[in-house]
Symmetry: C2
Subunit: 331 residues, 2 copies
Amino acid sequence: MKLRDIFVLTERDLRACVHLNRDAIDIVEQAFRALASGKVIMPPILSMEIPDAHGEVDVKTAYIPGFDGFAIKVSPGFFDNPKIGLPSLNGLMILFSAKTGLVDALLLDNGYLTDVRTAAAGAVAARHLAPREVRVAGVMGTGVQARLQIQAAHLVRPFSKVLVWGRDAAKAAACARDIAAATGVEAKAIDDPAALVRESQLVVTTTAAREPILKAAWLHPGLHITAMGSDQAGKNEIEPAAVKAATLFVCDRVSQSAKLGELRSAREAGHLLGIDPPELGEVIAGIKAGRKSDEDITVCDLTGTGAQDTAIATYALAAARKAGSGTIIQA
Amino acid sequence: MKLRDIFVLTERDLRACVHLNRDAIDIVEQAFRALASGKVIMPPILSMEIPDAHGEVDVKTAYIPGFDGFAIKVSPGFFDNPKIGLPSLNGLMILFSAKTGLVDALLLDNGYLTDVRTAAAGAVAARHLAPREVRVAGVMGTGVQARLQIQAAHLVRPFSKVLVWGRDAAKAAACARDIAAATGVEAKAIDDPAALVRESQLVVTTTAAREPILKAAWLHPGLHITAMGSDQAGKNEIEPAAVKAATLFVCDRVSQSAKLGELRSAREAGHLLGIDPPELGEVIAGIKAGRKSDEDITVCDLTGTGAQDTAIATYALAAARKAGSGTIIQA
């Protein structure tokens, strides 16, 4: 039995060396571009519900040619945890060598890398689909992703004002304060979601809504919407009529969006039947057309892909090696 | 960020405290019994092929009510590794709390626990399906499982002679020597697989065969066969006519055997169409009938289940805690 080095990185290690910046956005963009090449291997998500504990666990993976490794990400969500003072969401990634299948690194990130790669994907969508000039950005929802999506989007569209809407006004105000502190941009909570959409050129929806929170009647020329909340068959943020009314509707992965995202709801309402929308990677690679004018209305649905996980895990290991952080286990 | 203890156990740690013994067999039997209750949650295997590297990776999991944790097992197989002096098969298990979804332990076993739980399942099959008296046991194949299956079976049916058949006579002789050393039983290689089956009351097939290696014409009253080699759609060890001719055919999991195991080949040959054979757990639990007489011919197909992984991982963590082995990482 020959021992090999395995890098172990904890959430603390990872928070110290992986940041939501242009490098993170670029590597996630590279993953989307690769997806469009047709050479990425990304099996369907393994999903297990544990009703006894009000829990679920998802496993995602993807092999991207040109990346040294592939990640397997395990994301448990146990929704009674807050009652005992524990976070609902956790998880880790394992990075394997794509040449030998040996374990290179264990990334015990408790979901931090997922937060980063999810926000980075929002920035990639904004970079390629939002109007060139965004003065006001709006965010619906008040959680971690509401904050991070706006921070990431600000790196690619340096807007000067942020509007935050949430069902809970106090949480919306707190979220606006955090966003202002993180971006240095004026941010305020707003009661009326219609007004938020009307005033914004870029809107990100980040909720677990099961009934649409963004209505077709609110769309206006020069709007881009990124919907990143729906990642399960029961969820739906964007009114199906809005998906239909948009000039362009783009998915991160059509096969996933059709099961877990806004494409599912749109099709259930009778829209886009038999039509596969373009994927974000295809727009990035120039295979499919993106926004054609500043007047277009674009909608991008993000369900989260294993390719993003492989990208961010690869990036994290390189960053940790550079920083000399982490622990080595011989196994 | 509150830190929690995560147990890290390497292959070396695990080999020191987890052994192929009656305890391991009993906990795997418990997993099969639970499978029959209908309360186990076991999603389909996530499988990804990486043709660029002649590799594949499988992910299995299962939640078993009554077990404190559930395991997620990642098994890469990279078949060019031996060319560069590395093993083809590797992998690890992650044990999560079934109450909170938090990581309890990382079991960096390089496939050792899979070897143990696979052999233990063979012993469970022999315990419940083989004739009461087994004098001669035969094994087809000469790899790690050929050795371990016989060791495990000997714990439940203390036979006095072992026959080993393989395509390579030298490997069969080496395997027989190892089996004799491990069990203290007379073991010899044999050229003729028909003679092996004829002389044995218990036969275990452990090969990666894609064409049947065990023929229907060789069956005889009082024979039990465990076929554990086929775990992929292209594999087949037992001639379909033998599955049909047996008094009783049992699967570890019908849904898996129908895709990856002997049930697939049998159905492709037109047998057992529309008939779901009993599962091993159902026989253990007494829900379905097992062997009814010493003259019956029984065949059990094992494809490997996530429930076994959860069982052996739980057992391994308890054994490691008792032995005080492993490393704790705070994450």
